[in-house]
């Protein structure tokens, strides 16, 4: 009698070698599992990409200040007096020239045309002062130059250019009766700011009839811990009915809403499809057991146990699932990783983001594939192990 593990190895080898006999059926199972993995991974990559874009936008040592209860930049209003009070607040960092690093900004929505659908979409036009780029880190002009103070000039985020048309370098854009020239393209570490149009604050204020009105204030803090001090300062001053948050927290909140929603759609869809693939896998494995009935019975007759037959069938199913999972993962990576898309964000404007996969997601997808393989192999494997010898041998 051979040791058990040798029996298992022998039977497993036979199982695997017999796969080509059921080539098309096995292939259909592999492809079914691959498609399940593709659907799951593309949703997860979408959710992850959106989350990455927003979370990379927020910085721990920048505070964002909105009118109390307004939740998003677009709803907020902050007066000039309030901005002045904030400039004197505790924990506010100062630039080399000694001026406080405080950027009061205007956030307006303008129409752009989406390349893919040729429909109008909401784009953010941010009016910022010279402090705007200084308060934020990692803003880099990659083409052209920054707008000049007082001029009807705009600079455009690099991601925005990908998804929307008419904003290329040198183009003239009309907002109402005012005409603006695109003079530069900027990068912002792949953050949500790359989905924005920036222009000089006073020009935007006057052309949009919002003189002396701001919507949000961004403050560079001495360090992340200074946030609490600034919050206390604002809470204690009745003139400042404002919400102070770290920019990181602000964007993390917005990111989780949308990316949770995408995940909540993706997982049930993938699991439902996995059930369909499971039915296919069971079908394939039962066929495999039926086709090898004589062989299994013969092995049993010469002294092999039921266990090797069980393992052999299970391993065959798991191999099909693993191959399907690998094909699905590679296909998703090749087709969807870096795929650019845009959707409406919390500030009622388009956020451009790229689908992005990360190793943990691959792990989830492979687990789902193997679960289908395990489920599809288990019952047929039990049948193989329990097959009565006489019935098996008398099949022909």
């Amino acid at each position: 009698m051979r040791p058990l593990f040798l029996q298992v190895a022998a039977v497993t080898r036979i199982n695997i070698k017999s796969i080509p006999q059921r080539f098309w059926l096995s292939l259909s199972t592999v492809m079914a599992i691959a498609l399940v993995v593709i659907v799951l991974l593309s949703f997860l990559a979408m959710a992850n990409g959106f989350q990455q874009t927003l979370t990379s936008s927020g910085s721990d040592d920048i505070a964002i200040i909105l009118r109390g209860g307004s939740q998003a930049e677009i709803n907020s209003t902050v007066s000039r007096d309030q901005v002045r009070l904030l400039e004197e607040g505790p924990g506010v960092a100062r630039g080399r020239d000694g001026k406080p690093l405080v950027s009061a900004e205007l956030y307006l929505v303008v129409d752009g045309v989406k390349r893919s659908t040729q429909t109008k979409a909401n784009l953010p036009l941010r009016g910022i002062g010279t402090e705007g780029a200084e308060v934020r880190k990692g803003i880099k002009i990659v083409e052209g130059r920054m707008f000049n103070a007082g001029a009807n000039e705009i600079v455009v985020g690099k991601a925005l250019l990908r998804e929307f048309q008419g904003l290329e370098m040198g183009q003239v854009v009309a907002f109402a009766t005012s005409r603006w020239t695109v003079v530069g393209v900027f990068e912002a570490n792949g953050s949500v700011f790359e989905s924005e149009i920036w222009a000089d604050l006073p020009v935007v204020q006057s052309l949009f009839n919002r003189n002396n009105i701001f919507q949000t204030v961004r403050v560079r803090l001495d360090n992340p811990a200074a946030l609490a001090r600034l919050q206390r300062f604002v809470d204690e001053d009745p003139r400042l009915k404002l919400d102070v948050k770290s920019e990181a927290a602000y964007f993390a909140e917005q990111a989780s809403q949308t990316s949770d929603l995408i995940q909540k759609l993706g997982w049930p869809l993938a699991i439902t499809m996995a059930l369909g693939a499971l039915a296919g896998a069971l079908n394939t494995m039962y066929s495999s057991v039926a086709a090898r009935a004589v062989e299994i019975a013969t092995l049993r007759a010469i002294g092999f146990g039921g266990f090797p037959a069980f393992i052999g069938t299970l391993v065959e199913a798991l191999i099909l699932a693993a191959v399907g999972g690998a094909i699905g993962t590679i296909a998703t990576y090749l087709v969807f990783d870096g795929f650019s898309a845009s959707t409406l964000g919390a500030s009622f404007t388009q956020v451009v983001f790229s689908f992005s996969l990360r190793p943990a997601l691959f792990g989830q997808a492979v687990l789902l594939a193997l679960a289908v393989g395990l489920g599809g192999g288990l019952l047929p494997a039990i049948r193989a192990a329990r097959m009565p010898i006489v019935a098996g041998l008398s099949q022909h």
Binding site: L35, V109, D111, T272, G280, N283, T343
Partner: protein
Amino acid sequence: MNDLVLIRKNLFRKKLRAILMLVSILIAFLIFGVLAGFERAFNAGEDVAAADRLMVVNKINFTQPLPIAYFNRVRAVAGVRQVTHFNWFGGYYQDPKNFLIVMAVDPESYMEVYRDQIEIGAEARAGFMRERTGALVGEAMLKKWGWKVGDRVPIMSNIFMQKNGSRTWDLTIVGTFTARKPSVDTNFMVLQYEYFNETQNLGRDLIGWMALNTASPSDNDRVAKTIDQMFANSLYETSTDTEKAFNKAFAAQLGNIALIVALVVGAAFATILMIVGNTMVMAVRERTREIGVLKTLGFSGGRILRLVLGESVLLALSGGIPGIALAALFAAAMETKVGNFIPGFAVTPAIALKAIALMLGFGLITGLIPAVSAMRLKIATALGRS
């Protein structure tokens, strides 16, 4: 024994195999039904839109305001039957998470223009015109929050403040309205523009957008051009489009939902096409000898073809119909849960019909290869094959 019995017996000859195929088909059509229902709900704005309705918004973007004076000027344009105006209130109830759709409207013209979509009782109508702090609340919204007509509800805004610094408007629910079409969502409320305009702190006498009915859809183009020309080169230029186009562009802002749905449904169908197609080929090959016997008994090639195709079509229908029924049940159960997010989520008769057409097509495709090979099978080969 007629052919139908033969088809059924053939299909369920191996019960387990048939059930597994049925399950995978059922799941594919469940996914199809749910996603098609979702997509339809998502694009419901296009269906609801009246052919003779135009939307007038600020040319920069619809979130930019227009002066109230435009209302009377648009009303005077030839071909405009009725016009009304809206302000987005940015409402919520108690907690910012409880987002509410609240708009400030001119009561009389609002109820006139949207007569085709919502039904308002005479008492509610009179109450809304009379009561300065009154609000009309849609049936769905009343139900969602457990409010009753006559209740006084504190509605907060994330955009506006009252001049006294309060963020809350206490509104009296003077009446409710119901939808005239199933695709109209009633999860919103309207309050009086005059009251809103006088109490809010951000710029007076501005409106968000206007909606108007033209005398006839054939006037749409001319009316839209006249309005936009009238305000050209002013501080507030307008962009006038049909309600349908406006709703379509708005839905498209969320993303290319139609494409996502098509890809997922395509993946689900490709999966079962392979599984079921291969299994059918295998099932018919196992029956080679039997087909030889049938042919010997005088079954024509055409009849054999019909038998196999009948089997695959029966399989598709038996799996697909319960699948689409399950999708309808699922949508009905989910409607109250997701109604706020996607109103009108349902598997409509049109979706069900499309599903049945897909089932027939699917049955024919999966059966085609085995059916043709069975038809062409020569008796000698069939009986010779062991």
